[in-house]
């Protein structure tokens, strides 16, 4: 098997540069690549474009990069819960491109799949469609959307093996599988790294061919954004 393991997060982020475009998995704070984000903060890489469904909260997730003003542009579907984000956006320091969530997922999957462009009905007739080609299929209007291009994809899985195979857990899966192989280099961090051959090949969600570097994250806070419970 081809080995994808790197020693640690520092080695995993090698080659990261100012001005690059990153894709980051996660929905809210669930399934975000915590260790890679911490390293990007430490590296203080600047002027980056981040493709990520959300932008974290003030003091966690991508909010940490926002605090240090490392992000030039966010491409997201929903950026709700972040005061510093709002400040930077309203002051014009931060460029924000809002796109439909399904389009975000599909543009990632298209990049992974070598599909340069596809048609989707989402956003037709709205400002999302402005400047985009529109076209009728089966009596319904669609707009042309393109595959993402990115330098690095940072994803987080539950388990992984040394060959780069990944298994996700619960709804922490979200965009992570779709971003694997959608950038030049895919960096996967996992809660548990096992030797190749330990995972059932039928249960692997993402084969190692779509992952260039894999490491076991040092620690996971896995913060909960909205703790909702019911009485027993």
């Amino acid at each position: 098997m081809i080995t994808k393991t790197v020693k640690n997060v520092t080695e995993a982020c090698k080659g990261v540069k100012d001005g690059m475009t990153f894709m980051l998995g996660g929905f809210g704070l669930s399934g975000i690549p915590e260790n890679a984000i911490a390293e990007l903060v430490r590296l203080n890489v600047k002027d980056v474009t981040c493709i990520s469904n959300n932008a974290g909260v003030d003091d966690f997730g991508l909010g940490l990069l926002l605090q240090k003003k490392q992000i030039k542009k966010m491409i997201s579907s929903y950026v709700g819960e972040n005061a510093e984000f709002e400040r930077q956006m309203l002051s014009g320091e931060l460029e924000v491109e809002l796109i439909p969530q399904g389009t975000l997922a599909q543009r990632a999957r298209a990049a992974q799949s070598g599909i340069p462009a596809f048609y989707t009905p989402a956003g037709y007739g709205t400002e999302v469609a402005e400047g985009k080609e529109s076209r009728e299929f089966n009596g319904k209007m669609h707009i042309l959307e393109h595959a993402f291009k990115a330098d690095f994809a940072f994803v987080k899985a539950w388990k992984g093996d040394t060959a780069g195979n990944l298994i996700f857990k619960g709804t922490a899966r979200n965009f992570n599988p779709n971003m694997c192989g959608a950038a030049n280099i895919t960096v996967a961090e996992v809660e548990e790294l096992v030797p190749a051959g330990s995972l059932d090949p039928n249960q692997i969600h993402i084969p190692g061919i779509l992952v260039q570097r894999i490491f076991e994250g040092e620690k996971y806070e896995k913060r909960i954004e909205q703790r909702t419970v019911r009485k027993r």
């Binding site: 704070l29 389009t103 007739g125 709205t126 400002e127 965009f175 992570n176 703790r227 909702t228 019911r230």
Partner: protein, 218 residues
Amino acid sequence: MALTKEQIAQRIAKEVKDGYYVNLGIGIPTLVANFVRDDIEVEFQSENGILGMGPFPFEGEEDPDLINAGKQTITALPGASFFDSALSFSMIRGQHVDLTILGAMEVAQNGDIANWKIPGKMVKGMGGAMDLVASAENIIVAMMHTNRAGASKLLKQCSLPLTGVNCVKKIVTNLAVLEIKEDKFHLLERAPGVTVEEIKKATEGDLIIPTEVPEMSL
């Protein structure tokens, strides 16, 4: 009496049929789950990647890897499945979800909907709403009939940036149940004790009123 938000959810729950896969938006739509009859089989889809979504977990059993699209901790029912975001929107875009219930800031009489952006205010984003409204064959809007300033939210034309065009089929408000057909609002039911006149006054768009407008039963 105008309906409470809970009652709007309760009325919408009657639209949920046996065998339906349902996507619930944030706000009033989320409440619908509480009122669905328990003698029918319904599965709730959350676009962040779960089908067969269950109630909130018991205290101490919250799992950060198990949330809904509102980022709330949830549970998975027996028979549930997890999947990635691309497959989740394949379910939505591919019209495999039977019913979408979501809120709105404005609905126009041609079925246009605006629910994601107010110019001049902080824009949080459309999330999955544009995919949902562009694809769903069956969309019910749950909202108050008028905004806080008392202005109608059922308009001839939306004034806010659109989320989708010609897509809303049914609206349940605190005052009425309405259908959109041939570019007009059609009054189907009124809230208990609410008069047709009150509804007419609160509706800016063209409103077709049949001779008989039954009171809704909850």
